[in-house]
């Protein structure tokens, strides 16, 4: 049980609860898919898990310890977040942008070293961005930026990787290669995705609806026609891949 939420709820300073009653226990090494309609609270949950937002109720625990009791820096050494929208107008090079991921590990006593350089090289290689390392951030395409963000999260060397719709902007080849890459990292990963077929590859999925956890379990058990009709208001036919029998969802209007 590496990351867990306990009766977690969050509301803006004056306003209604946007997510509530969330009890999720993420197991070490698993990939948890996070799905739900727009505005259902996926990003809010991920930001709470990363410690960017402070819970209004309940708490988030990392290895059993509440994030509230932890220095931000300590949490950032374990948890990395790839945000849904994060951009800059600075003329920063791709490599420099990835280097920023080392921030939680550096201090006056542990300055930048050759080991950090090696970590940056690995991160850039992992997302296939080595050839663009010297390029200006502002000249990158949307997909290249997304991959650079992922490289920055990897440079953080986290134990838990939180990804908010990382496949956005990516062409199909890079979507698959990023999901493949993430699966191959062996990290505990929580990933918000909109493509319900891609979610099938996760170990478990959590379905968010109106700020609450609607279901949590293995994809095949959770993504039933009944639940999809209720949460996403769509009809579904479940086909299967003739090659390996993987279920394929085909959606229709209700």
């Amino acid at each position: 049980m590496i990351l867990s939420t306990h009766d977690l709820g969050w509301s803006p300073r004056r306003g209604e609860m946007i997510v509530r009653n969330l009890d999720i226990a993420v197991r070490e090494g698993e990939t948890l898919g996070l799905v739900g309609p727009n505005g259902s609270g996926k990003s809010t949950l991920l930001r709470l898990m990363a410690g960017i937002l402070t819970p209004s109720r309940g708490d988030v625990r990392l290895g059993g310890r509440s994030l509230r009791a932890m220095a931000r820096r300590e949490a950032a050494q374990s948890i990395a977040l790839v945000e849904q929208h994060a951009d800059t107008e600075d003329r920063i090079s791709v490599r420099d942008a990835v280097e920023i991921g080392r921030t939680p590990w550096l201090s006056a006593l542990s300055p930048w070293s050759a080991a950090d350089d090696a970590i940056i090289d690995d991160a850039l290689r992992a997302v296939d961005l080595e050839p663009l390392a010297a390029r200006d951030w502002t000249t990158l395409s949307g997909g290249e930026r997304q991959r650079a963000h992922i490289a920055r999260a990897l440079a953080q060397r986290p134990r838990v990787l939180l990804l908010d719709e990382p496949a956005n902007h990516l062409d199909i080849q890079h979507q698959l290669s990023i999901l493949d890459l993430i699966a191959g990292l062996g990290l505990t990963t929580i990933i918000a995705l909109h493509d319900l077929n891609q979610v099938m590859a996760c170990d478990r999925i959590a379905v968010m609806h109106d700020g609450r956890l609607r279901a949590l379990g293995p994809p095949k058990d959770v993504l039933t026609p009944f639940l999809l009709a209720e949460v996403f208001s769509v009809g579904v036919a479940i086909l299967s891949d003739p090659e390996d029998g993987t279920p394929i969802l085909r959606f229709k209007p209700l």
């Binding site: 300073r13 960017i52 800059t88 003329r91 920023i100």
Partner: protein
Amino acid sequence: MSEAIVGANGFQPLGRWIASLLKAAAILIAAALAGICIGETRIPPETVMQTLANRLFDASYALDPIDEGIVWNYRLTRAIVAACCGAGLAVSGLVLQSLLRNALADPYLLGISAGASTGAVLVSVAGLGAGAISLSAGAFAGALAAFGLVAALARLSGGNAGVQAAGQIVLAGIAGSQLFNALTSFIITRSANSEQARGIMFWLLGNLSGVRWGEVGTAVPVVCLMLVVCLAHVRALDAFTFGADSAAALGVPVRRVQAALILVAALATAVLVSIVGSIGFVGLVIPHAARFLVGVRHARLMPATALIGAVFLIAADVLSRTLIKGQVLPIGVITALVGAPAFAFILIRSRRLR
């Protein structure tokens, strides 16, 4: 330019770091020396050196006491305070631009310049304190009052860390500045004669004529302290590249860093404005010029900004004294008049380089 490429991540090995430091010190000293030599009465560099030796090391070179007085009491103090102002304002501007993710942020954004002018006018025109309070003290109090108002307004209206808070600070700063500028105009039109109004105008545009050792004793420690605090946060400032949330995800205690750096920048700016008036342009443009030269990583950008700011203001002071014979122009006029075309040149060149 070669070492600019080698030290790409901005955190250089110690040896190279010391070399850069020595180079920066050499540039700064050369600029200050030139600033001391050039003026209404030209003073040869040997005389300057000998004066310094006399005063600092009790050497006994025989010098014209007038020359010695000019060097020690007027030109040297001016050069030091100009360098402090340039470095302090430029780094304040850099810190605000980076924290607020706003390329147009400058140290006066926080209402400081407007508040200082109100304070100055209250003392000099409306006669507050009946002569017991100096113009500088009035300006300092005004600057603090305005900053306090802006900070409170930003907190009440936004509060939360992040992009939202940055927007609120900018807006609160605009509101606060407008209020205090209006107050200044109100007091001037109510009670100032045209002579006084001209004097205030001149003071507001920046003026180093009154600077003596007392001012040096205030400006140097304040600016040094501020530089130390800001330099200790270069990594945190880097982490703000993708916004405050991203900085938080990278382990930066966003609110604490924002509060500490904004406070330090505001205090330093308030002190500087109360000594020399509000010299414009430096805080806004020098950080951008430095970015073109050394890139956006703060470990390199911040020292570069401080150095360029210091040298720029020493040069601007020399120009303000020598451009028109027998008359001292407000230094704020020079910074904009010379700085704007220089900046335009950098802008165009950087385009070509890309």
